[in-house]
């Protein structure tokens, strides 16, 4: 599903943020990605969701070497990946429902179908009565849930979430984890970066820990 081979990443002429990272994720697995602030979690995830290419090494996704892929072949790959960004990245001038519908819209799927589906998903994350709100009028936790709905609407094979419980209280955090679990059971491979150690410890899923640019696979477990 996902495999990194001796991957290194640096920004510009800076030091290597990630050094010699090798790991692979089995289809249908769920992993937590942990590490101190600035350890490189978001950076590693950005390699996974194809926002940048590694400085060295190989990243394989769904069996394809994405470091060698042509630009025009990226969109179909990206459509199989759902992402919840740490800073949400919603389009402020579009109503919530259109933000959620975006991944289907850009594929040219008919509006009527898309909106119904988006409305269902928003109800599912508890925002059924905010369909037409604009993102700037939402609370932090509400935005986060819109971001999650957008990430899953395309039924991605790989779901990536960066700190998805950072802005919600424990009750919602637990609910979101159950939601991720459910998607995982339906076959989606999931990677969740988080600071919430309680969440990690209470879960049966394995943890990948970043420290000093290296990746440690602790609790080789259930997946």
């Amino acid at each position: 599903m996902v495999s990194f081979e001796r991957v290194g990443l640096r920004y510009g002429l800076g030091p290597e943020i990630l050094r010699d990272i090798s790991f692979s994720l089995a289809p249908g697995s769920l992993h937590f990605l942990t590490g101190a602030s600035g350890a490189g979690k978001s950076s590693l995830l950005s390699l996974l969701y194809l926002a940048r290419k590694p400085s060295r090494g190989t990243v394989k996704l769904f069996g394809e070497d994405v470091t060698a892929i042509a630009r025009r072949d990226l969109p179909p790959l990206r459509r199989q990946i759902g992402v919840v960004f740490q800073d949400f990245r919603l389009l402020d001038h579009l109503p919530v429902i259109d933000n959620v519908a975006l991944p289907l819209r850009v594929q040219g799927i008919a509006d009527s179908q898309v909106r119904e589906h988006a409305a269902e998903l928003l109800a599912w994350v508890g925002l059924g009565d905010h369909l037409n709100a604009l993102p700037p009028t939402l609370s932090g936790g509400q935005k986060q849930r819109v971001a999650i709905a957008r990430a899953v609407i395309g039924r991605p094979r790989l779901l990536i979430a960066d700190e998805p419980t950072g802005n919600v209280d424990d009750r919602i955090a637990v609910r979101l984890m159950r939601l991720f679990d459910e998607l995982n059971r339906l076959g989606t491979t999931i990677v969740i970066a988080t600071h919430n150690m309680q969440l990690v410890q209470e879960s049966r899923h394995p943890e990948l820990r970043l420290d000093g640019g290296a990746l440690y696979q602790t609790r080789k477990g259930a997946a």
Partner: protein, 297 residues
């Protein structure tokens, strides 16, 4: 707040709400106005050229200088007419009535005085079509009969005028091409600015799987809309100026230039200006986005 379904298809970037880029409509409008005026002027000159050529091509004018002796001058005129009748290139020849020359001088000397004056005689000769006419040779021959006589086949000034009209046509084409390049450049600049402004939204679209052309289409559509409005207004203003100039010219009778108000080809060419501008803008925006996006990951 907008209701569901209230938004336009393909408005994810919200480009249509950017007031900052509306100046591009003004630029395209001004450029269209320029193009319309250049084209209109060139068409006017070309149509005036055809008319003047029809009027003056095929006519030569012979001037027999004034002499104090009217009898001698009359004899010279008869000799010149004889020569002209024998010339194979000349169809007909006819002396202009003396009144024409008198009318020219009356304001200076008083009509009464002029009547007593010796005046030059003018002869109009209609040339045969398709036969080469050599004004110089004819002049030499005529000078034997009437010393100091001159032959003017209008070729010099008509040729000069037609050269000016041709040059104006070339200038108009150059102006239209320059205007097209300037419009494409301005739209390219505005599009790059728009890409920078919406960089974040463009990133988001990419990350949810949008193809470059999906994004480029949105910019092309926005440019198309602005360019169409701008160029329609600009071309309309240009056509208005041309029509106004025509009316002024006919009303005052000051200009001998017939403006191409009723030339259907001219109006078609003018009407094509906004369409061309719109097309140029849309293509420029599309190409700019595709090129810019190819440079990011």
């Amino acid at each position: 707040m907008k209701g569901p379904g209230a938004e336009l298809k393909g408005s994810e970037l919200g480009l249509e709400r950017d007031r900052e880029r509306r100046w591009i409509a003004g630029v395209i409008g001004t450029l269209s106005l320029l193009a319309a005026l250049a084209l209109g002027l060139a068409l006017a000159l070309s149509s005036a050229g055809s008319k003047w050529r029809a009027d003056f091509e095929g006519i030569a004018t012979i001037e027999i200088p004034a002499t104090p002796d009217p009898a001698r001058q009359a004899q010279q005129l008869r000799d010149v007419l004889d020569i002209l009748r024998l010339d194979p290139a000349i169809e007909t020849a006819q002396a202009l009535p003396r009144e024409r020359a008198e009318a020219l001088l009356a304001p200076w000397l008083g009509a009464e005085n002029v009547r007593a004056l010796p005046l030059p005689t003018l002869v109009d000769a209609r040339l045969k079509k398709g036969v080469v006419f050599d004004a110089g040779a004819l002049e030499s021959t005529i000078k034997t009969a009437a010393p100091g006589a001159q032959v003017d086949d209008h070729a010099r000034w008509l040729g000069g005028f037609l050269a000016v009209a041709r040059a104006a046509g070339i200038v108009a084409v150059v102006v239209v091409i320059a205007v097209g390049i300037a419009a494409a450049g301005a739209v390219g600049f505005a599009t790059r600015a728009g890409l920078a402004m919406h960089r974040e939204a463009v990133d988001i679209l990419h990350l949810v799987g949008a193809e470059d052309r999906y994004i480029a289409r949105q910019f092309a559509r926005a440019a198309l809309r602005l360019a169409f409005v701008g160029s329609a207004i600009g071309t309309g203003a240009g056509a208005g100026v041309l029509a106004g100039a025509y009316m002024l010219a006919t009303a005052t009778g000051a200009l001998a230039f017939p403006l191409p108000t009723l030339d259907p080809l001219g109006w078609t060419i003018l009407a094509a200006v906004p369409l061309a501008a719109t097309l140029v803008a849309a293509i420029s925006a599309y190409a700019t986005v595709m090129r810019a996006l190819a440079r990011i990951v």
